[in-house]
Symmetry: C2
DNA sequence: GGCATATAGTTGTTTGTGCAACTAATCAAA
DNA sequence: TTTGATTAGTTGCACAAACAACTATATGCC
Protein backbone atom coordinates (compact mmCIF):
# COMPACT_ATOMS: atom_id res chain seq x y z
CA UNK A 1 0.00 0.00 0.00
CA UNK A 2 2.40 2.62 -1.28
CA UNK A 3 0.47 5.81 -0.58
CA UNK A 4 -1.89 4.80 2.16
CA UNK A 5 -0.56 7.52 4.37
CA UNK A 6 -3.75 9.23 5.36
CA UNK A 7 -4.81 9.72 8.88
CA UNK A 8 -8.55 9.75 8.97
CA UNK A 9 -9.07 13.51 9.19
CA UNK A 10 -6.75 14.12 6.29
CA UNK A 11 -8.50 11.60 4.12
CA UNK A 12 -11.68 13.49 4.77
CA UNK A 13 -10.18 16.84 3.80
CA UNK A 14 -8.81 15.54 0.53
CA UNK A 15 -12.10 14.06 -0.54
CA UNK A 16 -14.32 16.94 0.49
CA UNK A 17 -12.03 19.66 -0.80
CA UNK A 18 -12.07 21.75 2.36
CA UNK A 19 -9.48 24.16 1.00
CA UNK A 20 -11.04 24.87 -2.38
CA UNK A 21 -14.46 25.20 -0.74
CA UNK A 22 -13.03 27.82 1.58
CA UNK A 23 -11.41 29.66 -1.34
CA UNK A 24 -14.64 29.66 -3.35
CA UNK A 25 -16.67 30.90 -0.38
CA UNK A 26 -14.24 33.73 0.24
CA UNK A 27 -14.33 34.79 -3.41
CA UNK A 28 -18.12 34.60 -3.46
CA UNK A 29 -18.23 36.90 -0.46
CA UNK A 30 -16.02 39.39 -2.26
CA UNK A 31 -18.40 39.31 -5.22
CA UNK A 32 -21.39 39.88 -2.95
CA UNK A 33 -19.71 42.66 -0.99
CA UNK A 34 -18.92 44.56 -4.16
CA UNK A 35 -22.52 44.25 -5.33
CA UNK A 36 -21.73 41.79 -8.10
CA UNK A 37 -24.68 39.49 -8.68
CA UNK A 38 -22.63 36.55 -9.89
CA UNK A 39 -21.99 33.04 -8.61
CA UNK A 40 -18.56 31.42 -8.62
CA UNK A 41 -19.84 28.86 -11.08
CA UNK A 42 -21.05 31.55 -13.45
CA UNK A 43 -17.71 33.32 -13.04
CA UNK A 44 -15.89 30.09 -13.90
CA UNK A 45 -17.72 29.99 -17.23
CA UNK A 46 -16.96 33.63 -17.97
CA UNK A 47 -13.34 32.88 -17.06
CA UNK A 48 -13.00 30.61 -20.10
CA UNK A 49 -14.93 32.95 -22.36
CA UNK A 50 -12.59 35.79 -21.43
CA UNK A 51 -9.74 33.64 -22.69
CA UNK A 52 -11.68 32.81 -25.85
CA UNK A 53 -15.25 33.64 -26.68
CA UNK A 54 -17.37 32.22 -29.46
CA UNK A 55 -16.81 28.64 -28.33
CA UNK A 56 -19.53 26.00 -28.15
CA UNK A 57 -21.32 24.77 -25.08
CA UNK A 58 -19.57 21.42 -25.53
CA UNK A 59 -16.20 23.17 -25.42
CA UNK A 60 -17.31 24.89 -22.23
CA UNK A 61 -18.16 21.47 -20.82
CA UNK A 62 -14.63 20.26 -21.50
CA UNK A 63 -13.03 23.43 -20.15
CA UNK A 64 -15.02 23.52 -16.93
CA UNK A 65 -15.32 19.75 -16.25
CA UNK A 66 -19.10 19.94 -16.21
CA UNK A 67 -21.69 17.91 -18.03
CA UNK A 68 -23.94 19.29 -20.74
CA UNK A 69 -27.02 19.94 -18.63
CA UNK A 70 -24.95 21.93 -16.14
CA UNK A 71 -23.59 24.15 -18.92
CA UNK A 72 -27.04 24.55 -20.47
CA UNK A 73 -28.35 25.95 -17.21
CA UNK A 74 -25.31 28.07 -16.44
CA UNK A 75 -25.57 29.63 -19.91
CA UNK A 76 -29.32 30.08 -19.34
CA UNK A 77 -28.61 32.05 -16.17
CA UNK A 78 -25.75 34.02 -17.71
CA UNK A 79 -28.08 34.97 -20.55
CA UNK A 80 -30.72 36.11 -18.05
CA UNK A 81 -28.06 38.27 -16.41
CA UNK A 82 -27.27 39.68 -19.86
CA UNK A 83 -23.66 38.52 -19.64
CA UNK A 84 -23.53 36.13 -22.61
CA UNK A 85 -25.41 35.49 -25.84
CA UNK A 86 -26.06 32.23 -27.65
CA UNK A 87 -25.44 32.52 -31.39
CA UNK A 88 -26.32 29.61 -33.66
CA UNK A 89 -23.33 28.39 -35.65
CA UNK A 90 -23.54 28.92 -39.41
CA UNK A 91 -21.69 25.70 -40.22
CA UNK A 92 -23.47 23.36 -37.85
CA UNK A 93 -26.91 24.27 -36.69
CA UNK A 94 -26.69 21.99 -33.65
CA UNK A 95 -24.05 24.23 -32.14
CA UNK A 96 -24.50 27.35 -30.02
CA UNK A 97 -21.51 29.66 -29.99
CA UNK A 98 -21.33 31.66 -26.77
CA UNK A 99 -20.35 35.31 -26.90
CA UNK A 100 -19.75 37.84 -24.15
CA UNK A 101 -21.80 41.00 -23.82
CA UNK A 102 -20.13 44.33 -23.19
CA UNK A 103 -21.31 44.05 -19.61
CA UNK A 104 -19.38 40.79 -19.16
CA UNK A 105 -16.25 42.33 -20.67
CA UNK A 106 -16.50 45.12 -18.12
CA UNK A 107 -16.32 42.86 -15.06
CA UNK A 108 -13.33 40.80 -16.19
CA UNK A 109 -10.59 42.87 -14.62
CA UNK A 110 -12.51 43.52 -11.40
CA UNK A 111 -13.30 39.87 -10.75
CA UNK A 112 -9.86 38.59 -11.73
CA UNK A 113 -8.34 40.97 -9.23
CA UNK A 114 -10.66 39.64 -6.54
CA UNK A 115 -9.66 36.09 -7.45
CA UNK A 116 -5.96 36.90 -7.22
CA UNK A 117 -6.55 38.70 -3.95
CA UNK A 118 -8.36 35.68 -2.57
CA UNK A 119 -5.51 33.36 -3.49
CA UNK A 120 -3.00 35.74 -1.98
CA UNK A 121 -4.95 35.69 1.26
CA UNK A 122 -5.16 31.92 1.12
CA UNK A 123 -1.44 31.46 0.52
CA UNK A 124 -0.13 34.42 2.48
CA UNK A 125 1.96 32.37 4.85
CA UNK A 126 3.01 29.61 2.44
CA UNK A 127 6.49 29.62 0.88
CA UNK A 128 6.32 29.70 -2.94
CA UNK A 129 8.19 26.43 -3.36
CA UNK A 130 5.54 24.63 -1.30
CA UNK A 131 2.80 26.20 -3.38
CA UNK A 132 4.57 24.84 -6.45
CA UNK A 133 4.64 21.32 -5.06
CA UNK A 134 0.99 21.56 -4.09
CA UNK A 135 -0.08 22.72 -7.55
CA UNK A 136 1.91 19.90 -9.09
CA UNK A 137 0.36 17.24 -6.84
CA UNK A 138 -3.18 18.45 -7.50
CA UNK A 139 -2.56 18.38 -11.24
CA UNK A 140 -1.27 14.81 -11.04
CA UNK A 141 -4.30 13.80 -8.96
CA UNK A 142 -6.55 15.21 -11.61
CA UNK A 143 -4.63 13.50 -14.42
CA UNK A 144 -4.66 10.19 -12.57
CA UNK A 145 -8.43 10.24 -12.19
CA UNK A 146 -9.85 11.98 -15.23
CA UNK B 1 2.61 40.76 -4.24
CA UNK B 2 4.30 37.94 -2.42
CA UNK B 3 2.36 34.95 -3.66
CA UNK B 4 0.85 36.17 -6.89
CA UNK B 5 2.39 33.30 -8.74
CA UNK B 6 -0.58 31.91 -10.56
CA UNK B 7 -0.77 31.49 -14.24
CA UNK B 8 -4.36 31.87 -15.25
CA UNK B 9 -5.19 28.18 -15.65
CA UNK B 10 -3.73 27.37 -12.27
CA UNK B 11 -5.73 30.07 -10.56
CA UNK B 12 -8.83 28.49 -12.03
CA UNK B 13 -7.93 25.03 -10.77
CA UNK B 14 -7.30 26.21 -7.25
CA UNK B 15 -10.59 28.04 -7.00
CA UNK B 16 -12.74 25.37 -8.58
CA UNK B 17 -11.11 22.45 -6.78
CA UNK B 18 -10.57 20.33 -9.89
CA UNK B 19 -8.66 17.69 -7.95
CA UNK B 20 -11.07 17.20 -5.07
CA UNK B 21 -13.99 17.19 -7.50
CA UNK B 22 -12.30 14.40 -9.44
CA UNK B 23 -11.66 12.45 -6.23
CA UNK B 24 -15.27 12.81 -5.08
CA UNK B 25 -16.60 11.73 -8.48
CA UNK B 26 -14.41 8.67 -8.50
CA UNK B 27 -15.52 7.66 -5.01
CA UNK B 28 -19.17 8.26 -5.89
CA UNK B 29 -18.75 5.91 -8.86
CA UNK B 30 -17.33 3.24 -6.58
CA UNK B 31 -20.35 3.62 -4.32
CA UNK B 32 -22.73 3.33 -7.26
CA UNK B 33 -20.91 0.36 -8.77
CA UNK B 34 -21.13 -1.56 -5.54
CA UNK B 35 -24.85 -0.88 -5.29
CA UNK B 36 -24.54 1.54 -2.38
CA UNK B 37 -27.30 4.12 -2.51
CA UNK B 38 -25.32 6.86 -0.82
CA UNK B 39 -24.01 10.26 -1.85
CA UNK B 40 -20.54 11.52 -0.98
CA UNK B 41 -22.11 14.25 1.13
CA UNK B 42 -24.14 11.73 3.09
CA UNK B 43 -21.01 9.62 3.50
CA UNK B 44 -19.13 12.65 4.82
CA UNK B 45 -21.70 13.00 7.61
CA UNK B 46 -21.53 9.30 8.48
CA UNK B 47 -17.75 9.66 8.49
CA UNK B 48 -17.92 11.94 11.52
CA UNK B 49 -20.57 9.84 13.22
CA UNK B 50 -18.39 6.76 12.86
CA UNK B 51 -15.73 8.65 14.81
CA UNK B 52 -18.28 9.70 17.41
CA UNK B 53 -22.02 9.26 17.33
CA UNK B 54 -24.60 10.94 19.49
CA UNK B 55 -23.40 14.43 18.59
CA UNK B 56 -25.69 17.34 17.78
CA UNK B 57 -26.52 18.70 14.36
CA UNK B 58 -24.60 21.84 15.26
CA UNK B 59 -21.52 19.74 15.97
CA UNK B 60 -21.98 18.09 12.59
CA UNK B 61 -22.09 21.57 11.04
CA UNK B 62 -18.72 22.40 12.59
CA UNK B 63 -17.21 19.06 11.65
CA UNK B 64 -18.33 19.13 8.03
CA UNK B 65 -18.05 22.90 7.34
CA UNK B 66 -21.69 23.12 6.35
CA UNK B 67 -24.42 25.45 7.50
CA UNK B 68 -27.38 24.34 9.56
CA UNK B 69 -29.90 23.98 6.74
CA UNK B 70 -27.51 21.72 4.84
CA UNK B 71 -27.14 19.44 7.84
CA UNK B 72 -30.88 19.43 8.48
CA UNK B 73 -31.47 18.11 4.99
CA UNK B 74 -28.60 15.66 4.98
CA UNK B 75 -29.86 14.22 8.26
CA UNK B 76 -33.39 14.15 6.77
CA UNK B 77 -32.16 12.07 3.87
CA UNK B 78 -29.98 9.84 6.03
CA UNK B 79 -33.03 9.18 8.20
CA UNK B 80 -35.08 8.30 5.13
CA UNK B 81 -32.34 5.84 4.16
CA UNK B 82 -32.58 4.42 7.68
CA UNK B 83 -28.92 5.18 8.38
CA UNK B 84 -29.28 7.59 11.31
CA UNK B 85 -31.80 8.47 13.99
CA UNK B 86 -32.51 11.83 15.64
CA UNK B 87 -32.85 11.53 19.41
CA UNK B 88 -33.95 14.55 21.42
CA UNK B 89 -31.42 15.51 24.09
CA UNK B 90 -32.60 15.07 27.67
CA UNK B 91 -30.63 18.07 28.94
CA UNK B 92 -31.53 20.56 26.25
CA UNK B 93 -34.66 20.02 24.31
CA UNK B 94 -33.49 22.20 21.43
CA UNK B 95 -30.83 19.65 20.55
CA UNK B 96 -31.08 16.57 18.36
CA UNK B 97 -28.45 13.95 19.04
CA UNK B 98 -27.69 11.89 15.95
CA UNK B 99 -27.16 8.14 16.27
CA UNK B 100 -26.18 5.53 13.73
CA UNK B 101 -28.39 2.60 12.87
CA UNK B 102 -27.02 -0.90 12.62
CA UNK B 103 -27.23 -0.55 8.86
CA UNK B 104 -24.90 2.47 8.94
CA UNK B 105 -22.43 0.63 11.14
CA UNK B 106 -22.34 -2.15 8.59
CA UNK B 107 -21.16 0.01 5.70
CA UNK B 108 -18.35 1.77 7.55
CA UNK B 109 -15.54 -0.58 6.67
CA UNK B 110 -16.65 -1.10 3.08
CA UNK B 111 -16.86 2.61 2.31
CA UNK B 112 -13.68 3.55 4.14
CA UNK B 113 -11.83 0.97 2.05
CA UNK B 114 -13.26 2.50 -1.10
CA UNK B 115 -12.16 5.95 0.06
CA UNK B 116 -8.61 4.77 0.72
CA UNK B 117 -8.55 2.98 -2.60
CA UNK B 118 -9.65 6.17 -4.35
CA UNK B 119 -6.90 8.20 -2.73
CA UNK B 120 -4.36 5.57 -3.59
CA UNK B 121 -5.43 5.75 -7.22
CA UNK B 122 -5.27 9.55 -7.09
CA UNK B 123 -1.78 9.63 -5.58
CA UNK B 124 -0.34 6.52 -7.18
CA UNK B 125 2.49 8.32 -8.92
CA UNK B 126 3.16 10.98 -6.30
CA UNK B 127 6.12 10.65 -3.91
CA UNK B 128 5.01 10.64 -0.25
CA UNK B 129 7.01 13.72 0.66
CA UNK B 130 5.17 15.74 -1.97
CA UNK B 131 1.86 14.49 -0.67
CA UNK B 132 2.92 15.70 2.77
CA UNK B 133 3.70 19.18 1.48
CA UNK B 134 0.40 19.29 -0.36
CA UNK B 135 -1.61 18.29 2.71
CA UNK B 136 0.20 20.91 4.72
CA UNK B 137 -0.45 23.69 2.18
CA UNK B 138 -4.15 22.85 1.92
CA UNK B 139 -4.48 22.91 5.70
CA UNK B 140 -2.83 26.33 5.87
CA UNK B 141 -5.13 27.61 3.12
CA UNK B 142 -8.10 26.47 5.11
CA UNK B 143 -6.79 28.01 8.33
CA UNK B 144 -6.02 31.29 6.57
CA UNK B 145 -9.54 31.61 5.26
CA UNK B 146 -11.83 30.07 7.83
C1' DG C 1 -30.89 8.92 -51.50
C1' DG C 2 -31.94 6.60 -47.16
C1' DC C 3 -31.05 4.59 -42.84
C1' DA C 4 -28.17 3.86 -38.70
C1' DT C 5 -25.26 6.24 -35.72
C1' DA C 6 -23.06 9.99 -33.45
C1' DT C 7 -23.08 14.68 -31.68
C1' DA C 8 -25.06 19.18 -29.57
C1' DG C 9 -28.09 20.74 -26.74
C1' DT C 10 -32.48 20.64 -23.64
C1' DT C 11 -35.62 19.03 -19.99
C1' DG C 12 -37.05 16.47 -15.73
C1' DT C 13 -35.84 14.61 -11.32
C1' DT C 14 -33.19 14.10 -7.09
C1' DT C 15 -29.78 15.88 -4.16
C1' DG C 16 -26.98 19.42 -2.16
C1' DT C 17 -25.62 24.55 -0.85
C1' DG C 18 -26.11 29.27 0.85
C1' DC C 19 -28.88 32.83 2.45
C1' DA C 20 -32.81 34.78 4.96
C1' DA C 21 -36.58 34.25 7.84
C1' DC C 22 -38.69 31.64 11.06
C1' DT C 23 -39.95 28.68 15.70
C1' DA C 24 -38.75 26.78 20.01
C1' DA C 25 -35.92 26.39 23.93
C1' DT C 26 -32.44 28.27 26.94
C1' DC C 27 -29.84 31.77 29.32
C1' DA C 28 -28.81 36.09 31.51
C1' DA C 29 -29.55 40.34 33.59
C1' DA C 30 -32.42 43.77 35.69
C1' DT D 1 -39.43 36.47 37.41
C1' DT D 2 -39.88 38.54 33.43
C1' DT D 3 -37.89 40.33 29.36
C1' DG D 4 -34.29 40.39 25.84
C1' DA D 5 -30.69 37.98 23.65
C1' DT D 6 -28.68 33.69 22.21
C1' DT D 7 -28.70 29.02 20.43
C1' DA D 8 -30.60 24.76 17.86
C1' DG D 9 -33.02 23.47 14.38
C1' DT D 10 -36.45 24.00 10.28
C1' DT D 11 -38.44 25.95 6.03
C1' DG D 12 -38.51 28.59 1.63
C1' DC D 13 -36.08 30.14 -2.23
C1' DA D 14 -32.51 30.39 -5.96
C1' DC D 15 -28.73 28.17 -7.91
C1' DA D 16 -25.95 24.18 -9.12
C1' DA D 17 -24.58 19.04 -10.12
C1' DA D 18 -25.35 14.28 -11.79
C1' DC D 19 -28.06 11.18 -14.29
C1' DA D 20 -31.49 9.66 -17.68
C1' DA D 21 -34.35 10.52 -21.43
C1' DC D 22 -35.31 13.34 -25.00
C1' DT D 23 -35.05 16.43 -29.78
C1' DA D 24 -32.64 18.08 -33.65
C1' DT D 25 -28.93 18.09 -36.70
C1' DA D 26 -25.04 16.03 -38.95
C1' DT D 27 -22.32 12.15 -40.70
C1' DG D 28 -21.14 7.73 -42.70
C1' DC D 29 -22.10 3.80 -45.16
C1' DC D 30 -24.81 0.91 -48.31
Amino acid sequence: MPNNQFKKGELYSFITGKASTAIARRLQKKFNMSGLNLTIEQWSVLYHLWKQEGISQQELCNATFRDKPSITRLVDNLEKLNLVKRVASQNDRRINLIYLTRQAQKIQEQTMLMAEETLNEALETVPPEKVEVCKEVLQVVYDNLK
